[in-house]
Amino acid sequence: MSQLHRFVVTDGGDLEQLINGLSQRANFVRDPDRRSERSVYDTFDWRLFEAGTFLELITALDGRGGRGEVALAWRSSLTGEVLGRLGVDEAPRFVWELPAGAVTDRLSDVIEMRALVPLVTLSTVRHPLRLVDDEGKTVVRVIVEDSALADGTPLAPVVEVHPVRGYEAAATAVVDLLAAQVLLGADADDVATMALRAVGLSPGSYNSKLRLRLDGEGTALDAYAEVLRTLLATMLVNERGVRDDLDSEFLHDFRVAVRRTRSVLGQARGVLPAAVLDCFRAEFAWLGTATSPTRDFDVYLLTLPEFEAGLPPARKGDLKPFGAFLDQHQRSAQRALVAELDSDRYRTFVDEWRAWLVEPASDAPDAASPAVEVASLRIWKAYRRLIRAGRRITDDSEPEALHDLRKDAKKLRYLLECFGSLFPADEIAPLVKQLKALQDVLGEFQDCEVQAGSLEGFGQQMLDEGGTPASSLIALGYLVEQLDERQGQARAAFADRFGRFDTKRLRRAARTLFGPMPVVADRDLTSSVQPLVVPPDPTRGHLPVKAALP
């Protein structure tokens, strides 16, 4: 699909004159104007925008303000192509409220479990024009859009040239024609993005991935404080959505920020003052626990469709009572969570933590050391610990050993996420890729273990609460068996996954990136590697030059 071209009508441009000028040209057909009210939707983390698309609820209006057809339209902002259009009465909050079908499936791949949030409403008059060939076939569409925000603030009119596939040359000719107009500016945003910016929103401004750029020259304290400030900001920006339970992802991102903070604090001895660590590590641990029950129920509610899909057709309805059970318990866990967030303990802790981060001070021994040196050492330690523990895992190891290994892997991953920007991105990437794959297997193993246990517990609880049909308990039993099987598969996949992480190439990469000496005498990790002298990298100031000598 070829790209569309967008021009913005600059101040003083006469729209009517432009449209008339075009429609008087040979082979241009002017279609009736169309009025509509449009509301732009996206998820809190801008998933539709990040995918290069926008989603609008469009209500057709007649000239007298009467409301007509309502549709949800999903478009590519690059090509203008309609990715889907669904007749609806109102915008859904979640994708699963939409009618099943190909469009819903594709939309679901992008927004998943996130709620759709209305962002801005505007009214638009579209003036559609078409260039036709000698068969009367449309070969280019030109759409002039004149829009205003709901409060009447006008937006600059936009002219879009939509190429028709297979007739690109005609579109190029129209673009050239329009480009010669002095009152048109090229490279305009789409109207939805213009409207978002006009109300002060910046599309793409939130992303659950840590996007840090740490100062390679800074001290360890600078780097730690920067990471911790970013994590606190993530927590705070999600807090409102957590309280309102807008969707389950707010709490998820909130908890990830808490876990990352705990992990960083766990690696902060010698950088942050001991008193600060003792106090805040305890508070973050408390917050982790306080947010757990709601998340647990969220996870089961999200997994419910998958559980249902795993049941034989005749049993599918049997999980309904289980769904109701989860729903009810999620709600009471959510109430308890909101109460904790309203508590003095939470307020005081967040205020004090924020205050400390504004002007962090530390007399700990490593606080003033170069960030890159401290981070290397911590990552190196975590890496070696993971390698050593992983090699000890055999087919006979207890599940707890794999669980501990998962924690080790997580620690390393968080360190890489938080401090990764201090190292060359392309050298870290292969390591992170294999680490991720390893974590997936370990995660699957552990999730199956925990879920099987929980399902049994839930079954018992449903029995105790009474009124549960036997068929529901049978369905749960069936699921537990399936989880058991999946866990077996994850276990079988472990050795291979770990092998791909623990390769000579990646070990060498890890040592070059984080190791204490650039001389690879990999005795304690591998026995067969020949010592290899790696020349010192001038871009990596933390390596003492003399260490390059054998």
Binding site: M1, V82, G87, V103, G136, T138, G166
Partner: protein, 247 residues
């Protein structure tokens, strides 16, 4: 991506009108749709006002010198694209025969389109040939218009038994429906009643013999653009609903 072929051993039964109208309907409901006009007569191409020409002809496509993506044309309707007919398709059997794994070739050509389209409609030439075997391999559903006559039903049964021996049969759904129905004819009414009992793969949907469908050639546009409330339009809507449900 679901591939739906409109197919009939016999010509002139409303096969092309079915492909064009259902494709237009699916696209207007928000799905992304491609019509591939495989019939060298190019009726579907004519309805969409596109010139019946494929760069390099059908041969370049089959021989792999050109990707399907390169020859797609946008129609006048949102989300609805067309691979136009080409007169060289009349030699398709010869070209297919000379290629490797001839019956898989269409499916191979379509595979890269899965990212771009939800539905592909293949408008097939009337015959049983190497080309139609390639269509059977590529399609998930074979939509067959039936004129309510004894002969037409016999042919449908023949097709059914032909497909039964066919390797791609498992994933291919055979869906019949009635076309060119004249309720004034007693024979039509009787046959429709009888079939409803005996053949579950034939839908109880009747597209009437009407001038509306013929007028598509005058308007050079799908039925819904000029006669959206006609009896034929209603029947096509029902047909699409029933087809979607069987996919």
């Amino acid at each position: 991506m679901n591939v739906i072929a409109t197919y009939s051993i016999k010509g002139g039964v409303g096969k092309t009108a079915t492909a064009v109208n259902l494709a237009h309907l699916a696209a207007s409901q928000g799905a992304r749709v491609l019509v591939w006009d495989l019939d060298p007569q190019g009726a579907a191409t004519f309805y969409f006002r596109v010139k019946p020409k494929v760069k390099g002809g059908g041969k370049a496509l089959i021989k792999g010198k050109r990707e399907l993506d390169d020859v797609v044309k946008g129609t006048d309707y949102e989300n609805l694209d067309l691979v136009p007919a080409d007169f060289s398709y009349r030699n398709m059997d010869l070209v297919l025969d000379a290629s490797k794994k001839p019956t898989r070739r269409l499916a191979q050509l379509l595979r890269p389109m899965a990212r771009d389209y939800d539905y592909v409609f293949l408008d097939c030439p009337p015959s049983i040939s190497l080309a139609s075997e390639a269509v059977f391999q590529a399609a998930h559903a074979l939509l067959v218009p039936l004129i309510p006559t004894t002969l037409s039903l016999r042919t449908f049964d023949q097709l059914d038994s032909f497909l039964a021996e066919h390797p791609g049969r498992k994933k291919l759904r055979l869906i019949g429906f009635f076309a060119m129905v004249d309720r004034r004819k007693r024979l039509h009414r009787e046959l429709i009643d009888e079939v409803g009992r005996a053949r579950p793969e034939v839908l109880d949907i009747q597209v009437p013999a009407s001038t509306d469908v013929e007028r598509m050639g005058v308007h050079r546009a799908p039925l819904f653009t000029f006669a959206p409330r006609s009896r034929s339009a209603v029947a096509y809507r029902e047909l699409w609903k029933a087809t979607e449900a069987r996919l």
